[in-house]
Amino acid sequence: MDGRAIYAISKKEFMDNWRNKWIIAVSAIFLLLTLVISYFGSMGAGGVGWRDIDATIGGMITLVTLLVPIIGLMLGYATIVGEKEKGSLELMLSYPVERIEILTGKLFGLGAVMAAATFIGFGVAGIIIALNVKGVQWGNYMVFVLASILLGFVFISIAMLFSAIFKKRSAAMGGAVFLWFLFEMIWNVVIAGVLTAQYGIEKLTDPNFMAPSWYYVASLINPVKAYSALVSLSISSVNELAGNIPSFVNVPFNLAILLSWMAGTFALTWYIFNKKDL
């Protein structure tokens, strides 16, 4: 494995998304929504106006958990199956390039697209907010932006796995859409259902109720949840986690979940792609 091919492939993936205006479009969406959240987020509490960065981050977590996974999935689902269907993958692999280099190049390139859009969108929004409020915690904001990028990498990696497994682009897209629903809705509903079945609704509404450890583990295996937990635990003024949380649910725990998702799906993609006839 060497850097040349990885660089060439990452650059191509990045430039493709630069030329087709994806990066700019996603940046603009991030920028706009962040400003809306910051300015109108306090509407319920009477009147509008710029909120500080920490308060804005609280509102942005929901935005990121919905948008970043779908952007990551859209970036990655066709990257292998699409090129295979078209025939360009075959040509690429006829060059002195290893399959792992193609996968690495694609992950880095698509991840850079996500990172660029996040940095531009949230960066410009941060500057605009900073011009209007005092005492901006840039460190916290940076943690939030980096965590969001990591979530993007996780979903690009998952999408690439789908792209390597499925024989048809449309099937990979179906898989990606399903996955989004799974992590955004189905997962939480199922786990909450099991919890309710075990303890009954009355016990759950008791303010002193402490959920069992398995509930936290099962819930946080969902990368979307691990992300919001990670941001909540890193930035003290943000609290997305309700109730008494067990001590093992800390920053390294959630970070490890996200990194495992990325590394695990990437390794699996490699394993599958490495055996594939093109």
């Binding site: 091919a5 493709d16 087709n20 025939g87 075959e90 040509l91 093109l278």
Partner: protein, 302 residues
């Protein structure tokens, strides 16, 4: 040691044997053609040579490197033109070339020269998505030539092209070969292989039927050349006189041309016979047996 060594290559696709125990050796500097009908296993063989698919059995070495174990080194000196050449529609020709040059680690300056070389001078900044089939094929060839590889693998290089387009590709193949590039090509278009290749392997139902030079293949089958003789004033008496010459298989008259299939050693006797009968020869040439005939003979009865 050949530039390509294929030993016992076998590939099954879900129980169907696409290539069956194929062994081939390609020497440096030759134009080697893999010939066979569609589905004979040509593309499977080529894809195995590039490590795109994994053989069920057998091994392939290119420049001495095992394609699967040392894929990167094996592929360092190969240019490849796939049967169904596909690029990225959103890139221009020059952007496409620069991407592949980067993948190969070749000088980007080569790209413009190569595009000019295949006659795409005026189309470099056009998006590949708007290219015609012929332009795609020429871009495909330019791409394969990046880094001046010592081996070019061309899968049906003239497939789907008009006669002029395929003539241009054949000229290019010959020119590259003259400059020292070994060429491995596949085709089901017999006349094209005949025009360029020095050696031919005939493949049918995944099995190697024969591999030899075109001349030898003709001899082995005892296919006779055809003499095409143009006469000033042909007549039936000349024709019947020619038919009587020993060694003549058949003769026919069309217009003022007599076509004679015969043992090549009796050429002089035929000329004498015509002149004795009062015929005046305007033109005389020998047409070697077409590969079509070679091919039909080899694959018939399968």
């Amino acid at each position: 040691m050949g530039i390509v060594e294929i030993k016992g290559l076998t590939k099954d696709y879900e129980g169907v044997r696409a290539v069956d125990n194929l062994s081939l050796e390609i020497e440096k500097g030759e134009i080697f053609a893999l010939l066979g009908p569609n589905g004979a296993g040509k593309t499977t063989t080529i894809k195995s040579m590039l490590g795109l698919i994994f053989p069920t059995a057998g091994e392939i070495k290119i420049n001495g490197f095992d394609v699967l174990k040392e894929g990167k080194k094996a592929k360092e000196n190969i240019g490849y033109l796939p049967e169904r050449v596909a690029f990225y529609d959103n890139l221009t020709a020059i952007q496409t070339m620069e991407f592949y040059a980067e993948l190969r680690g070749a000088d980007r300056k080569e790209c413009i020269e190569l595009l000019m070389d295949v006659g795409l001078d005026g189309e470099m900044d056009k998006k590949v998505g708007n290219y015609s089939k012929g332009m795609m094929q020429r871009l495909g060839l330019a791409q394969a030539m990046i880094g001046n590889p010592s081996l070019l693998i061309l899968d049906e290089p003239t497939g789907g092209l008009d006669p002029r387009g395929s003539w241009q590709i054949r000229q290019k193949i010959k020119e590259l070969n003259e400059n020292g590039t070994t060429i491995f090509l596949s085709s089901h278009i017999l006349s094209e292989v005949q025009e360029v290749s020095s050696r031919v392997a005939i493949l049918n139902h995944g099995k190697l039927i024969e591999v030899d030079t075109l001349d030898n293949l003709g001899k082995k089958l005892d296919l006779q050349p055809t003499l095409v003789i143009e006469l000033q004033r042909p007549s039936q008496s000349i024709l019947s006189r020619v038919k009587q010459v020993k060694g003549v298989d058949s003769a026919e008259l069309s217009g003022n041309v007599i076509k004679v299939r015969c043992n090549p050693r009796v050429k002089t006797n035929i000329i004498n016979a015509i002149e004795n009968e009062g015929g005046k020869i305007l033109d005389f040439r020998t047409v070697e047996p077409s590969l079509e005939e070679v091919f039909l003979k080899f694959t018939e009865g399968d």
